[in-house]
């Protein structure tokens, strides 16, 4: 049988991995591709605790990758793609018309989200990068549009039980029309064929060049499990990949990273709604 290549990746990348990159590497490197997608932090913790094993780990934002670096399982991680925050909405929503208008730039999107009765969904800022990023995006929008209180008005408290859902169910919930709008990565929203509202670069966290000067102005506090308060800062929405030091099949892992960085791989990324890698290696 062909050797196995195990890829653990941030759950939002499922469509790209399973339908494009996976089949491609199977052909190229004559390996059997096995992808495992889940919350990036969850996967990183399981890998760090050696509860599961993988050859390649693909993380969104540096955070999960840094968990593995701290555990000594990863040396240098390379950027392979980037994405941006968008607001996805449900075409069945009774506010769909308003969202369409916002997507076309005719009305400010933040006003639509503040309409009474709009149900907004996001993921857990404690465990999921996306959950943190939507909070940053709203904080940035507050400054960008000079709308004090915007973040609070749309999101409520940082941990707002009426908005936070487990990651796997968020977009399905939107699809089945059980919420009106939700946070999302552009890439994932495209795979799910959902309509969305693009956000300006100053808000969508996609540009590492804006990190130092602009993104870093957004901070929020979160209570750590040990009870201490931690102040979080933005991390660029870049996908990093690395071969694990305890990879059962490091060669195939290297080949996979090479594929992702090749023009062929980048074309696939683009097809699935991702942008080009931004910023430097993660050490």
């Amino acid at each position: 049988a062909e050797p196995v290549l195990k890829v653990a990746y941030a759950g939002s990348m499922g469509a790209l991995m399973d339908k494009a990159l996976g089949p491609a590497i199977q052909q190229q490197a004559h390996v059997q591709y096995q992808g495992q997608g889940a919350g990036a932090y969850g996967l990183a913790r399981l890998l760090a605790a050696k509860q599961i094993s993988a050859d390649v780990f693909v993380s969104i934002t540096p955070g999960p990758m840094q968990v593995l670096q701290k555990a000594g399982l990863v040396g240098v991680a390379v950027p392979v793609a980037s994405t941006q925050m968008v607001i996805a909405y449900s075409p069945q929503s009774r506010y769909a018309k308003d969202f369409e208008a916002a997507a076309a730039g005719r009305t400010p999107w933040y006003e639509v989200l503040q309409k009474p009765g709009v149900k907004f969904g996001r993921t857990d800022p404690k465990t999921d990068p996306q959950g943190r990023n939507i909070v940053f995006a709203m904080l940035l929008a507050q400054t960008y549009y000079k709308q004090p209180g915007l973040a609070k008005a749309i999101l409520g408290p940082v941990v707002n039980p009426s908005q936070i859902f487990a990651e796997p169910s968020l977009l399905s919930r939107l699809e089945s029309g059980q919420i009106d709008a939700s946070s999302g990565y552009l890439s994932a929203v495209i795979s799910h064929k959902l309509p969305y509202i693009r956000l300006p670069n100053e808000i969508n966290l996609s540009d590492p060049n804006l990190a130092a000067t602009w993104y870093d102005k957004a901070h929020f506090d979160i209570t750590q499990p040990d009870g201490k308060t931690e102040t979080l800062s933005t991390q660029p929405l870049v996908f990093y990949a690395a071969v694990l030091k305890n990879a059962p099949n490091p060669k195939a892992g290297e080949a996979f990273i090479k594929l992702m960085r090749s023009p062929q791989g980048q074309a696939m990324f683009k097809r699935y709604g991702y942008s080009e890698p931004k910023g430097g290696d993660l050490r």
Binding site: G39, Y41, G42, R45, L46, A48, A49, Q51, V67, Q92, S93, K119, D124, K126, T127, D128, P161, S162, I164, F165, A166, P168, S169, S172, R173, S176, G177, Q178, I179, T223, Q224, P225, D226, G227
Partner: protein
């Protein structure tokens, strides 16, 4: 002692006692079976032995919110099991005491939630009880939201545990002789008093086993809860959050806490039934 002649049957009896397999062959087989059984038990026990080995006993420390999760889990599980008993008992009694055409449909309905994988069950519940669903919308107008609310948490636990309770309670009721219920009626007791004073005490052990099972299933329910009630956070979701947040070290104390509150009821029921 000589074998006596079996006069009219001599021609018919062709079996010879000595033709039965020798005792040592049987003994060997008995050992093989016993070995299978013991291996099975050891196999079931292994992961728990592994847990005992792996647990860093020195540094077992609860995370922030763990006790809150404990409170949520215990509180709502008690409520969920009570509700399950409330509507599951009549259903079980009905299944035990009636026979009618199409009963299999009812049995199927009871089995369906048990059969559906939890993730799918969670999605199904979202489809029916979500804020914009055919059921959720009218309920929402009445002020009852069934997403990320205590009511949603209960809903998840109820769907996860009710079938187990109903199946157990049904066989408990089937074990109560109808004679005794009938005699109670003829003694002037109403069906209501008969149920409370005769049927219930006589099926109490079986019902207790059903309650214990429902307790365990509701307490441990994860897949459904994750989808429709991320909040309020009970122990299983907290386990998942701790894992992602902090890693495995934050899981051990919660796991032991879970066993500590989950096991006593089933163990008590086991002890009583002996």
């Amino acid at each position: 002692m000589s074998r006596m002649p079996v006069t009219p049957l001599d021609s018919a009896t062709t079996a010879d006692i000595a033709s039965h397999p020798p005792a040592d062959g049987a003994a060997r087989r008995a050992w093989v079976v016993a070995a299978f059984g013991l291996a099975g038990l050891a196999f079931l026990a292994l992961p728990f032995l592994g847990l005992v080995i792996s647990t860093p006993w020195g540094q077992l420390q609860l995370q922030q919110g763990d006790l809150g999760a404990l409170r949520v889990s215990v509180g709502y599980t008690v409520l969920a099991v009570t509700l399950v008993m409330g509507f599951g008992t009549p259903v079980a009694w009905w299944l035990a005491r009636s026979s009618f055409r199409g009963k299999w449909v009812v049995e199927l309905l009871v089995l369906l939630p048990l059969l559906t994988p939890p993730l799918a069950m969670g999605l199904l519940l979202t489809m029916s009880y979500g804020p914009y669903s055919w059921l959720g919308q009218p309920l929402g107008k009445l002020g009852l939201s069934l997403t990320n609310t205590p009511a949603a948490f209960l809903l998840a636990q109820i769907y996860g545990s009710a079938p187990y309770y109903i199946v157990a309670a049904r066989s408990a009721f089937e074990g109560v002789p109808r004679d005794l219920e009938q005699i109670s009626l003829t003694l002037g007791s109403s069906p209501w008093r008969t149920f409370w004073r005769i049927t219930l005490p006589l099926s109490s052990l079986g019902l207790g086993a059903g309650v214990a099972l429902a307790w365990v299933r509701a307490l441990g329910e994860f897949g459904i809860v994750l989808i429709i009630a991320y909040y309020p956070q009970g122990l299983p979701v907290k386990l998942w959050v701790n894992l992602q947040d902090t890693g495995l070290s934050a899981v051990y104390p919660l796991l032991w806490l879970f066993f500590l509150i989950g096991l006593p009821l089933p163990l008590l029921m086991g002890a009583l039934s002996r």
